[in-house]
Symmetry: C2
Subunit: 255 residues, 2 copies
């Protein structure tokens, strides 16, 4: 299933999607700016924008065009369809209330982690993560928990495909170190993240698996490193997460 290269992509559609991505990463823009950044003719970009606008995927703006809310419609649909979301959500709210920290629910798609839902506790801190955010699995506690539930072969495919880019000096960047870490996670049941994605940010993560042992995602608790450390991190919080994940798994298999 790991096709390296696509034989005959629909380049026209890819161009439209590229415009969409540029509007997301670069903010609002007009045809001229997009054309020069994407290396296309102004008229070409213009035509694409008009087509995207007709479907509501982009919308006119003071600075040109921006991504439209039609995408929120699609995105929320995608999330609601996901089996993990509806089952995990109430439990996450509960965990956030109990711990006061930020609690996330993450799932894997195409070898990347997607933040499905985040519940904010009373003392939760701001992090770069939002709902919908796509991250590298090896940079997340929840992501490493997911990886630990995959067979090694699958992990190797993911590493081959996406690499192990670093976010901080503590990010795991060596495949060997990753596999070692995954073995540890499998033993103790939960994953840890100590400033591997954001300095001063720690997290615990536990995988949620279906009744065949395949991960459908993971849940995690994250917070400032001086609050999430020692016994609280590897004891209380980890236990809490393990129990929650277990509950979710049971509810998952009867729905």
């Amino acid at each position: 299933m790991t096709d390296d290269e696509q034989r005959r992509p629909v380049t026209t559609a890819a161009t439209s999607l590229g415009i969409l991505e540029r509007l997301k990463s670069g903010g609002s823009m007009g045809p001229t700016g997009l054309a020069s950044e994407l290396g296309l003719a102004k008229s070409t970009v213009h035509r694409h924008l008009k087509t995207l606008e007709r479907e509501g995927f982009v919308v006119p703006d003071d600075d040109g065009y921006r991504v439209g809310l039609r995408l929120l419609d699609f995105g929320i649909y995608a999330r609601d369809q996901h089996q993990l979301y509806e089952v995990a959500k109430p439990k996450l709210d509960e965990l956030a209330e109990q711990t006061g920290e930020k609690v996330w629910c993450v799932t894997e798609e195409q070898g990347r982690g997607f933040h499905l839902y985040g519940a904010a506790g009373a003392h939760s801190v701001r992090t770069p993560a939002r709902e919908g955010t796509r991250s590298y699995l090896h940079q997340l506690a929840a992501g490493k928990a997911i990886l630990s539930a995959f067979p090694d072969e699958r992990v190797r495919d993911i590493v081959d495909r996406h690499g192990l880019p670093a976010k901080t000096p503590k990010t795991i960047t060596a495949p060997d170190a990753l596999f070692e870490e995954l073995a540890t996670i499998r033993e103790r049941g939960f994953a840890l993240n100590r400033e591997e994605i954001v300095p001063k940010l720690h997290a615990v993560g536990v995988a949620v698996t279906d009744n065949e042992g395949h991960p459908v995602g993971a849940i995690s608790i994250s917070g400032p490193s001086n609050r999430l450390r020692g016994d609280r991190l590897t004891g209380d919080l980890a236990d809490l997460l393990l129990g929650a994940a277990n509950e979710v798994e049971i509810n998952l298999n009867f729905s």
Copy 2:
């Protein structure tokens, strides 16, 4: 700005987007099913799907392909970019807590209403609305509040473009009735919805405008008709909403 028809749409991109929409409205599907429903060759659909998959917009599934979580990434981005969202959100949470009902924040795009964020109170009921949902403005309390803040000419454009489709027997379907209602809303400051979109569901809505008087959206409270009626609906709740909208407006104009 109300271009009736597009001169030269990028039909290839439109095909891809059509596939995406079909996957959303019809659920997961494979190339064969999509091809027959969209009137395309199997091989064509296959190529589009592969391209969409490469960008994460669709993802393989047990039943073929489904819309991918990449769209959640885009959608949440679109929402976070929206000026109204970040300002209104905390206020909505507060209102939901106070009233116990479901509180929504809606904005307009291309003449349609988009549910940006919904806060659930303790007694809030389930409705078809989710975040991201696109609705007809005339079917919503918040939508009518938005329309009431538009110049008549703009409202006429929107009615011409989208019509006034009915959801229940009480939905406004005549332009004259709509304009009459909008005049009433302008006078008293808030909009009402009495079973115009869902039977037994009532709502109050108030527009949020910028310092030039243009609506950036609206906020609403909705709930069962026997709880949202009489003085509570047009008195307490309406007042609460008016105050909240006012607060949001002030915060909006200084950010």
